[in-house]
Each structure stands twice: as structure tokens, then as C-alpha cells.
Subunit: 236 residues, 2 copies
DNA sequence: CGGTTGTTTGAACTGATTCAATCTGTGTGG
DNA sequence: CCACACAGATTGAATCAGTTCAAACAACCG
């Protein structure tokens, strides 16, 4: 059931569990879990962290989805990365060029870099763990570049939907699409008008069925082909 | 003089020096420098590492430029990252989705992950150093996404030229452009035909002057404005 | 000299944008 | 329960940026 993923009221999910499910050894997850932090509720599409703000925080998504975004000079917004539950945003030293907003209402655990760094420094395993996470994000970024640079608008939207389904661990071809059409446009480098047309086309072609925000992948093999979606890059 | 950067015959540049100039403490650079490795001459636009090959190597660029690339299903190539002298490609465990090719004739130092990892593990400072490098690459990737997703073709090419000038430490507004128009197209997600027109336009507008591969930035302030190029993201 | 690689140009075409209007669903307060 | 506001989705028509295809030209190199 995809809807389970949107019970952002599931207060029960601890940082410990989300990290373990991301592949971290339990004893190391404990270390981070015991780090002092607070849990914030983040409302979608409201300012959360603006571009240019100091980025001396560690964040982990407990539920919901966070986005990193940048804007070009004329204010057109581009979403450059997403963070699903269990994923995080590490401190980068200095200021961050990107802003952060929630895609849907999200629960985010926020700690301070000065608490986080010493813990990681003391455990090479943690360093390796986070390096792997960062490299996965890097791989996703590369795939997004191929998306924006080389695929047509249908493939771009299809690819995003496929990637999202995998990252949300959708099992039964039914997904509650978390994005507005404007957000899909901001991720795939298009206009919301065109995204609307693309989605309508995809439905007409029998790739998906829509009921409100609910999306059913009617033909997973075919949509993967259209999107040229090879999920290996997510498996790192 | 930009041309100095293309004397790939400058055998004298050691890994040690390139790492120190990238900000690493000398004693740590020594550790990596002493690691067993070989130096390869890589010819431009020939297969070097294919997508899907095991990525159990560390590479550092001594001279020249390396590119990481992916291709979409119909074979259209997208360059997703560049590595200038002093920059490197770290082992990612498992196989890499991207291929590697040189942009120009390059000297690359190649070591084995199994030699590299223990050294880094033994020194948290090295971990932090490489984390910072990776985060810089991440920031560059984000900027490229904005480029491909939100800027028009002139701004995209202008932005790439600005970024390249900064990363090559060009000082006097003269740069030996290292890219073919096809490569610019592969980076900015266009066709070489259009890149050609864009470059001609930029020259007509007085943004640049060209003499063969030599490019002169006639109006650095204006080209930065056109490109909406804010170099902060490179300074991490 | 012939072969190869890269650059330049033209003409026709098309995918996506822009602008503007309308429609739909949801939540809020009277 | 209705009226209203608001955010998001949908549609149409005109326009344009960038692609495609094809051909010519230039530079380099053994």
C-alpha cells in the first residue's frame, strides 16, 4: 500500500531504524541516534532553508520527501535532488548554494554539524557509509542530467515516475504520486503545462492510469522502455 | 597563459603536488603519493573505461581533462562530469554506470581501491578531504542540472565556458578552449549544429573572440551575466 | 595526396513554451 | 450547508528555440 508511506503521522519511525534500513550497522546507527537533535514538521512548498544559508546541519528524512532546489537568474526553479525517508543531507561547510523545501509534509530530524562530525570521524565505517550514500546521490544526479539533457519530455516524466516508484519501494504498481505537476516540471526542466500534456498522453497510450494523485503503472515493462529506465544506478 | 595547461608532456607534476594544490596537507599527500600506482596517457575521444566496467580504481588527473559520460537508450551521449588536473575519480564499489573518456590528451594516475581505501580509513582527515571534494562535485552537478533544465542554449554554452575558465585557473581572459563543439553539445544537452550557431552568435554579440580553439572573453562581466554564472559553487 | 575529424551554413520541421482562459477539488468561515 | 477563496489541473492557439538532414568547407596528419 503506497498510502502507508504518507502517514507522516507515523511518529514511531526512529532515526536508528531509518539508518539501519539504509544499510547501516545497528551499533553505528545507535551512535547517531543518540546524537542530540530535534524533529521538525516541514510543510510542503513553503520556505524551509533558503539558498545561501549556512549549511551546518545534518538532516535525515523520517517521512515525506525533501527537495534541494536552485533557481536561475530569471527565477525559474530547478529541483536538483530529492531525499526520501532514510536519506539525508550532510553538512557541507560554509554556505549551501541550494535551498531546501519539502515536496509533501515531512518529518525531518535535524542535528548540528559540530555534534555529527566528531562521531563520524571516530568511526571509519561511518565515513565509508556516508561516502557510499553520497556516491549513490551522485549516480542519481548523473541520471538526472541524462534525463534533462538527452531525453524527450515523455521519457523524462516517465523516468521520474519510475525512479520515484523504486525509491518509495512501491510493490504493487500502485503509487500515490507525491508530486504536483509543477514539481514534476521543476525536476524535469519543463513547464507544468507540458507535463500535464505528457501525463495525459501517457494515460492515452496505456502506460499509466490516473485517479487524482493515484497513479497505476498499467504496463511497467513498457514504461521502463519508454523512460529507458535502468534501475541499477539506485542499487549502489 | 592557458596553453601551459595543455603541455601534457609536463611529466614533472606529481600526484603529491596536485593534491596539495587541491588543498590537502603535505604529509597526507605524501601518503597517497607513495601508494602504488601507474601513470597512463589517455587519448581523447577513444574508449578508456566503458560504462558497466568494475570501478575498483582511484584516478587522479595530472594533466588534461577527463569526462564521465552516460548514453540514453538511443545512444545519444551526455557528459555528466569533468575532472581537471588535481581532481580525481574515487572507487565506488561494484560497477560504474558511467564511462570515462578524455576530453584532451591526458595523464592519469591510476591506483587500486584495495590500496587506497586502507590509507584513507586510517586518516579521518583524508576522509574529510575527499568528502569535501565529492561535495564540490555534487555542487557542480547541481549547477549543470540548472544549466540543462532551465537555461537557454546560449546561457548553457556561456556557463560552461565560464566554469571551465575558472576550473582551469585562467587569469587573463584568454583560454585555449579544450572542447570540440560536439563535446560542448554533449555537456550542455544540445546538438553540435546548435552549439556552432550559439558560438557564432556570442562572437557577433561581442561576448567572445575566437581564433581557432583560442577563446578570448571580450566582456567577462557581460558573459557572466548572460550565463548567470555565480562561481561560488566552485569555491567549496 | 587522401583520409579523418571538426566546423560552418541552409532549409524544413517539430517539440515545447507562452499566455490566457477555464475547470475541478478542497478547505474555510459565515 | 452554502458561498467563497485558492491551489492545482486542463485546454487552445500562436510562437519560437532547437533539431534534423544534408552538404560544403577547413585543418591536420601520416
Amino acid at each position: 500500500m503506497a498510502s502507508r508511506r504518507f502517514k507522516s503521522a507515523t511518529q514511531g519511525v526512529s532515526l536508528r531504524e531509518t539508518l539501519i534500513s539504509a544499510g547501516l550497522e545497528p551499533y553505528l546507527a545507535d551512535l547517531l541516534d543518540e546524537m542530540s537533535h530535534r524533529v521538525l514538521q516541514v510543510e510542503p512548498r513553503r520556505p524551509f532553508r533558503e539558498p545561501g544559508a549556512a549549511r551546518d546541519e545534518v538532516m535525515f528524512v523520517r517521512s515525506g520527501i525533501l527537495s534541494k532546489f536552485k533557481s536561475d537568474s530569471s527565477g525559474r526553479r530547478q529541483i536538483v535532488a530529492l531525499r526520501f525517508p532514510g536519506e539525508g543531507i550532510l553538512p557541507s561547510g560554509g554556505i549551501a548554494e541550494y535551498g531546501i523545501q519539502a515536496i509533501v509534509r515531512s518529518e525531518v530530524m535535524v542535528g548540528r554539524a559540530e555534534d555529527f562530525d566528531p562521531i563520524v570521524d571516530a568511526h571509519p565505517e561511518l565515513h565509508r557509509f556516508f561516502r557510499r550514500l553520497i556516491q549513490r546521490n551522485e549516480a542519481i544526479g548523473y541520471e538526472w542530467l541524462v534525463n534533462c539533457g538527452r531525453r524527450d519530455s515523455t521519457a523524462r516524466v516517465a523516468h521520474l515516475l519510475c525512479e520515484t516508484a523504486v525509491r518509495m519501494h512501491v510493490k504493487d504498481a500502485h503509487m500515490l504520486n507525491p508530486f504536483t505537476q509543477q514539481q514534476i516540471a521543476d525536476i524535469t526542466g519543463q513547464t507544468s503545462v507540458n507535463v500535464n500534456r505528457v501525463l495525459a498522453d501517457m494515460e492515452r497510450q496505456g502506460l499509466i492510469r490516473r485517479k487524482g494523485r493515484e497513479i497505476e503503472f498499467s504496463d511497467w515493462t513498457e514504461i521502463r522502455r519508454v523512460a529507458s529506465f535502468q534501475p541499477d544506478y539506485l542499487a549502489i
